[in-house]
Symmetry: C2
Subunit: 295 residues, 2 copies
């Protein structure tokens, strides 16, 4: 495999040395990560980014956007379960859900585990990401592409929510890092539009980056949401394939408190979340309480 | 700084390119990490390993052994608090503690927060590690080196425990990875000796590696301890500077269950652990319960 590639030009973000192929994550100034790659399964240049599906030795198949690991077969379920099941049971009877981003279809694949969810609008700006994940990352995209409750909208999430008023019980923002196409998904204007897209008892959640390396983004997200929602709770999970390991999610709710959720409603076919993990995820370490001004 | 170093030969595990200096962690087959380095504060070759103290852009000062990051100013407190405070309050009235390894003195620096601990034997095989951390990693070693309850024994921990019988209330094994000098600290024979070094109501804890990348070591450690202690509980924390982020600890106890610990006894001057985090750390995700055969 490596020998064959050596005769061609490698795509950007890949390097070959010592007869091994490596995916190079060097978007940070101070840290570079090299993952050993078995095979580059596809490389496509979409209007938004370079989309790669690769097969790695440590993480299995992965989605890589502009050289940055987005989700992996090894641990993608952790992130997807934590961003999906917590809002899904915080709301006691959701019927309509919105996903912004989430092109790997992993969030949709978790939400379809709830039969009471009748409509799931999935809004992803980059159709190429969905095509590739549906074709080659089936362990993550699962049954979502074939579940007729899931409706795909290949458009800008920011524009999509602008004219949606009082429609959704839950909204999930599964964005990539706040650089490039996802930057607007961290703006106050977007969160206000998202709030307006919710029904009166709606619940939203967004990924709010690393509590270690992106303290400013987490704190800003938390405080923006506090200005618009009566209940705002940050929770955490570990995401082994993201540098820093610890990841944060921020839930904002108009009526329901996640700490009062009916844990018996949690879907059973999960690999990470259970009722203990649900509750534990809201126990924040001292430094996060300090950073968020919670006490 | 970099220019000056370019005229000399760099120590092993460091590379210079694009006018930047990098610490290279390449002990794994499938992943390489590069940390950008401000300055190599010291390089010493001990009888056991290459000991470096470096100052990095993302993690502050770090202890690096044979090229592998061991502890950092940014997040060392998470690991040190989780391995120390949990046994320290699981035992209701500990007076004598044993630390095996822990050359950075971070564990000792947590234990001295408990005034009821009157004697702390710290057994580290590599005196060079202690000398360097006491001199240059003071944010982690803290006051431990000057606390006269802490007694340093620069010897092999495996040999040290062999003739210690019924001495300690708590024992903490703060080893490096089970390759090189620390390998024997993961053997059944050592755990049995360690049990014998405890008093009748003793509690021990060891770091049991990544639940993602070292499932075999975690599972083996858990099952070995189950053969010798009536109460064995694995708990988890996030360690951002270890690949995989999630880290496991396994506690083995002759009488006391950590889930019955008096949380009011927890030392207050901590940055990570609090009573919520203490309890949350024992809520294991489904995949860990499966791996450990817990239900």
């Amino acid at each position: 495999m490596v020998r064959k590639l050596m005769n061609n030009k490698l795509p950007r973000y890949f390097e070959e040395f010592n007869n091994n192929l490596w995916s190079v994550e060097d978007d940070r100034d101070n840290m570079k990560l090299y993952y050993r790659v078995k095979e580059i399964l596809s490389t496509r240049i979409s209007p938004f980014q370079q989309v790669n599906i690769i097969d790695t030795y440590d993480f299995g198949r992965c989605l890589v956007l502009d050289g940055v690991m987005q989700t992996t077969e090894l641990d993608g379920y952790i992130y997807n379960e934590m961003i999906s099941h917590i809002p899904a049971i915080t709301h006691p009877n959701p019927s309509k859900a919105l996903i912004i981003g989430g092109g790997d279809c992993g969030v949709a694949n978790e939400l379809i585990k709830y039969p009471e969810l009748l409509e799931i609008d999935m809004v992803e700006i980059d159709e190429v990401v969905v095509e590739e994940c549906v074709a080659k990352l089936t362990k993550i995209s699962g049954n979502a592409p074939r579940d007729n409750r899931v409706k795909f909208h290949f458009t800008d999430g920011v524009k999509f929510v602008k004219d949606k008023k009082g429609l959704y019980d839950i909204a999930i923002v599964d964005s990539s890092d706040p650089i490039g196409p996802a930057e607007v998904l961290f703006s106050e204007e977007f969160y206000v539009d998202l709030k307006d897209s919710l029904k009166d008892e709606g619940v939203m959640v967004c990924q709010s980056q690393s509590p270690i390396f992106n303290k400013d983004i987490l704190s800003r997200t938390h405080h923006i949401l506090k200005r618009h929602f009566p209940i705002v709770k940050t929770y955490k999970a570990v995401v082994p394939s993201y540098p820093g390991g610890m990841w944060s999610f921020t839930l904002a709710s108009l009526v329901y408190d996640p700490l009062n959720a009916n844990l018996a409603k949690l879907a059973l076919n999960t690999s990470y979340i259970n009722s203990g993990v649900f509750q534990a995820s809201f126990s924040l370490p001292n430094f996060m309480c300090d950073d968020l001004g919670i006490l």
